[in-house]
Structures are given as structure tokens and as C-alpha cells.
């Protein structure tokens, strides 16, 4: 199962993958056990001439313990899964480490608009770099994003980063990621947003620090762009 996961290039991706592996093993064992018992009982206790069913109502604790004890174990494993998942959730959704870069991601029917800070490193200044479809970030850097929507609910989905966050109009939702490997990775929209949902996507370009710096410098700030 886990082999189908796309390559992980996110700083918290391995935590996510480990969690998935843990849960799959735990539930996998239970699933196989339950099926084996089920099928085994069906085979062993199929109707046989001369053999009669027993009377086992499961009305006293001794008999019920055969069901209740496994369920106590399941309860314990459930809580263990929660304990394993809580730090992963905390890292991805409940913390905002100091960013090396802040970008604004705006979802609309049917494209992603990205606003990068210009050379001043600040968003919402004159030298911001806007692009549709392509998001540029440096590798091994904490990127904080602000998600906004122009119209309906979208969802910012980067499978290689193990990151997904719904984009809700009327809200500015913050999150973060750090990519550990250079390359180009897909961004999709994971919430039905209308007729163009099927193809709504974008690209994440992860560059070396030097390449990113050059890219920022080479971009035309918006006010100069409009002057031409």
C-alpha cells in the first residue's frame, strides 16, 4: 500500500508516512485475524450430519470476555494510534515555525494565483511577484502560506508534500511546509469547485537558494510591468 505513495519531499512527510505505516500494520493485523477467525469458523462449523449446535448465549461475563477482551485491546490500540497521530497533526496544523518565506495562495474558479514577496521579503509591497500556475520556493526553507479564496471553497493539495488544506472564502488560513528536494511538484485542487475542478492545478517549483534568489531578482515588479 505504502509503495503507492508518491515520493515524499516534505520535512514532515516522513512523520506522516510513518504514521500511515503504523496504522496500516495495526489495522491490517486485526483485519486479517478477524477474517481468518470468521472463515475458519464457517469451515469448521458448517452443518454436519449428527452434529448439533451448542447453546452459547454470551450472557455472562465469562463468555462475553471472549468479545470484550479483544475490544479492550482494540481500545488501547485506538488510543495508541491517537497518541502517535497527535504530534504529526500538531507539527503540520498547530504550529507555524518562523518562516524563511511567506507566500499568498489564492484559489479561484479555476486556477491558483500566487503572490511571492519581492526582494524586500515582504508581502503586500510594491515589488511583490504575482504568477498564475507557478509557485516558486527555495529548498530547505520554511515556507509559510496564507490561503484565500476569491469565490468558492477550494483545497490546496500537494501530495508529494503530504499537505492538504481547504481554502475558504472569508478566511485567510495559514500553514507551512518545507521541501527537502529540488524539483517540480504538482499542486491540485482537492475540493469540488465547479466545472473546472477537474483540471484545476498548478506547479510547485523548488529551487536551490541561489536559483531562487536569481529568480526573485529577475522578476519584474508589478508597477514597472504596468508602465511598459
Amino acid at each position: 500500500m505504502l509503495s503507492w505513495l508518491p515520493e515524499n519531499v516534505s520535512s514532515y512527510g516522513s512523520d506522516m508516512d510513518s504514521l500511515l505505516r503504523l496504522i496500516l500494520y495495526i489495522v491490517g493485523v486485526w483485519f486479517v485475524l478477524a477474517e481468518v477467525v470468521l472463515i475458519g469458523l464457517l469451515v469448521v462449523y458448517r452443518k454436519k450430519p449428527g452434529k448439533r449446535a451448542a447453546w452459547v448465549p454470551g450472557s455472562n461475563l465469562k463468555q462475553l470476555s471472549w468479545v470484550l477482551l479483544p475490544c479492550v485491546v482494540i481500545l488501547g490500540l485506538d488510543l495508541a494510534i491517537e497518541a502517535a497521530g497527535a504530534p504529526v497533526w500538531h507539527t503540520i496544523k498547530q504550529t507555524l515555525p518562523d518562516p524563511d518565506l511567506t507566500v499568498r495562495v489564492s484559489g479561484k474558479q479555476f486556477a491558483w494565483d500566487f503572490t511571492h514577496p519581492g526582494e524586500d521579503g515582504q508581502l503586500d509591497t510594491d515589488d511583490d511577484i504575482k504568477s498564475e500556475f507557478d509557485l516558486y520556493v527555495p529548498v530547505d526553507s520554511v515556507v509559510q502560506f496564507e490561503l484565500v479564496s476569491e469565490d468558492v471553497i477550494h483545497s490546496f493539495w500537494l501530495p508529494h508534500l503530504r499537505l492538504k488544506q481547504d481554502v475558504v472564502p472569508g478566511r485567510s488560513i495559514k500553514g507551512w511546509f518545507e521541501v527537502t528536494k529540488e524539483g517540480i511538484y504538482p499542486i491540485a485542487c482537492a475540493e469540488l469547485c465547479g466545472i473546472g475542478h477537474t483540471t484545476m492545478g498548478a506547479r510547485l517549483h523548488v529551487q536551490s537558494l541561489e536559483e531562487h534568489r536569481i529568480w526573485v531578482q529577475s522578476q519584474e515588479p508589478l508597477d514597472e510591468f504596468w508602465e511598459e
Partner: protein, 558 residues
Amino acid sequence: MEPSFLRKYVFSVDHKMIAKQYMITGLVMAVLGGYLAYVFRVQLAWPGESVPGFGPVGENVYNALVTMHGTIMVFWVAMPILLAGFGNLLIPLMIGTDDMAFPRLNMVSYWTFLVSSLLLVASFMVPGGAAAMGWTFYPPLSARAEFTGVIWGGHLWILAVALEFASMLMGGINFLTTVVNRRAPGLTMFRLPLMIWMLISASVLFMFSVGPLIAGAFMLLLDRTVGTGFFMPEAGGDPLLFQHLFWFFGHPEVYVILLPGLGVVTEVLPVSSRKTIFGYRAIVYSTIVAGLLSFVVWAHHQFISGINPNLALPFSITTILISVPFAVFLFCCIATLWRGSIRFTTAMLFAIAVIAEFLLGGVTGIVNGSAAADIYMHDTYFVVAHFHYTLFQAVILAMFGGIYHWFPKMFGRMMNEGLGLAHFGLTIVFFNLTFLPQFALGFRGHHRRIANPESFDWLADMQGLNVLSTIGSIGLLLAQIPFVINFFHSMFAGKQAGRNPWQATTLEWITPSPPGHGNFEEAPVVYRGPYVYSPPDSEKDWRPQHLPAGLEGTETAP
């Protein structure tokens, strides 16, 4: 005096006829829902190709197909067949009474349901097409027609769903009052067949969860038609409010459609293994606990929706805890088989399959229930596979199990076991072929509600699994042919069934097959619990509920 044709078949107040009306309507809608799935699955496997029997599938058409498939299956197949259909058929019969407490209200509830079905089908034919916002209908997409181009299709969807809710609420009043106030003498609550417990639990869950969504439906309808802004941020409203209203209902709702199916399993298992159900009270209590818990898990559908992240852990914990009462339930069913003497009738095969397949649905629910894991899995095909591995069994397999089991009572004839075996085998094979690949697709990150997977490079090498899944779905639909043949042929030419072909202990098997108006020739009295099979103090391997102590051997034989 023999009632007129209209009175007997159309405007009937008899619970058995109303049950059949619900089931037939539900089965017709199931054909429609299945056809919609066929169309969009073919589109997914071979994007852009014209779908045989439909035509080309544009993006908005695709969105409408998946929306209406989900809507129809939950509200117009699961609810009428499992809850209203089996409920109406079995409640009066299993509690030993002649009809529901309010027969005319019962009739009104069916007609309301039929009108709701007609409204929904009409929504396909209006300009702008049928609703295309997902069965979850989230605003703002659903609150303003200009976001989708769907106008009347959306209005009719809301009206149809509202009427369906009204119909089921009316039915619920009947179910609850009848079970509480019309039981045969001696039939205490803990001597009720578990199917009855499941039906009334489902009715209570529905009644207490649907209210806020009805409020939300009014708000959404006003947003769509009049232009209010209940869910529009620029007016001060909140899109997330609708999600809370929807899922506060939506989660208990999946248990509403699950419990009757589990009830079918608890009826078929003891009869077919000639062994009393294991842990009757444990099953009742765990059902009640699961029902109560179902009211505090709803935001697990919204972990990454923009709600406060601090809410995720509490909802994740409650969600994962729900696995415990269901585990109790399933393990009790499995324990029922231990030291039984199992006959593999078609009904039993389906009942076993419900358990075997539901187990996979249940364990994959744990994956989704962990908030962190859900960051990845939300809105991918993993979720789609999870809910089909739970709902398909609880609704479709259980429905078949119930039909094969109670067909002899409803129609006085036996169904053909050979055709039943074929139907069973093909359904199981093709169901798994359809949905197992979707777990893998989910792991790859294949997101939901997209018409063309090939527009994403990173999904390209998985397209073969989409094709496999589609082939499975086509096979699954074709696998129903033996059932259709069996159903209609047996109705007219099946072997005579007699009153109690399964030698079952519950009260419905006392009546003639089919039962006449009023059901019981004499009012039954109950002396024991519902599953006395192979009692140690008797040579016979069953003792019906209605026989006084010491009387054996006078039960009707096939």
C-alpha cells in the same frame, strides 16, 4: 368486502403493501443510481470517449453524475429499502401486531416519498441540468447559481431532500410508537428481535440529527433563490456553518442506513447456524453507545476544512472510539458462528459477506479517523473506497440478504438457490474488483470528483487501476441479472414456501405466506427471547417465541 384495486395496491394503508411500495421505488432508484455510476466510471477509465448508452461526458455533466449518484444511493435507495421498506414489513410482524400505530400517516409518508423521488428525477430535465455540487452540496458553490450554472436542478434537489426527510420523519413516528406501544403480550424489550432494536435506534438517530440540517436547507434555499447570505462571507455568513449542519446530520445518517442492514445480519445468522445470537444485550448496549457517540464525531469530515485545528484531536478521539462498540457488535456476530451448525443459504452467504467486507471498511475508517492521516487521505479515493466498503455491505448486500430471507414470507414462494449463489459470487467478485484498486488510488493521492485523471501527470501510471475499477463496476451491474431473473421468476413460479421454510423462531414466521390483512389469525403471546435455537433441553433445534413452555413439535413444517 374486498377492497378495490386502488385501495389495495395504490392507496393502501397496509404496512406490507407500503413496504413493497417503498422497496420497489427504492429498487428503481437503485437502477438509476447504478447507471449513473456506470457512466462516470467509464468516463474515468477512458476519459473523453463517448460512453456507450449515454454519450460524451462534459465536466459539468460529470459533476452532476457523481452528485446524483451519491444523493440517490443514500436518500433514495438506502433509506427507503432498508429503513422504510424492511421497517414497515417487519415491525408489525415481528412484534405480533396487525399494523402500524398510524396506518394513514404511514400511507402519507410513502406518498411524500414518491413525490420527493419524482422531484429528484425531474431535476435531471430542467435547464441547467441536475445538481452538480456533490451530494454534500457545500456553499458557496451551491449557494449561488452562477458558480455552477445549475439553477432549478439545485432548487429541486433541496426540495426533494426536504420532502424525503419529512417522509422519513413521519415513518419514524410510526416505527417508534408502534414498537413501544403495540408489542404482543410477553414481548418485553429484551425479547425483541435485534432487527427491531436496530430499526428503532436508526429512527431515533434520524429524528434527532436531521433538524439542524432542515434549518440549513431552508437557509441554503433562501441563499439560492432570494439571494440571502447565510453562507456567503461578504454578507457576514459562513460557508463552514453549512458543513457543521450537514455533517451533524450526515454522520448519524450513515449509522441510520447501517443499522437496519446489521439487523438483517443478526436475524439471518442465528437461523442459519441454528445457534442463538451471542451477546444479545452486548449488541443492544453497544448499538446505543455507538448511536450516542455518532452525535459527537461529525467534524471528522472537516478536519482540514478550516475549522480550528485544536478541535481536531477531540473529534479524532471520539471517532476512533466508535470502532469499539462496532467491534463488539461484529465480534458477537462472529462468535455466534462458533459451535454452530451452519447452512449456507443465499441469505446466509450475503449476511456473512456483510461482516467480512464491512471489516475492511471499518478498519480503513481508522485511517481516516486519525486527523493527521486524514490530511493526506481526505478527498482522495481512499475515502471513497472506505465508505463503499461500509455502505455497500450495509445497504446493498444486507438488502439482498434480507430479500432472500424474507421473500418466502412476502410472496409465499422460495427463490432459486442456484441463481442466488451465482448472484452472490459474481457480486462479491466484482464489488472487490471495483473498490480494492481505489485504496491504492487513494494512497497515490488521486483526488475526488475529477472527470479526467489523465490531466495529472503524477496519476498517469495508476490509470490502469481506474480501468480495473471500471471493469469491476460494469461486472457488478451485470452481476445483478441473475437476481432480477430469480426475483421475478420465483414470484410466479417458485416452489411453495409454506409459513416457515427456515424453521425460524421469530413471530413473522407464524403468519401465512404472504400474511393476510391483519397478519395473525390469532394474537400471539410471547414466552421467550427471539433466538432459541438448539436449546439443550430439547431434541428439536428450535423453539419459537410464541409457543408456551412444554409444547414442541406442533410448529408448522415446510
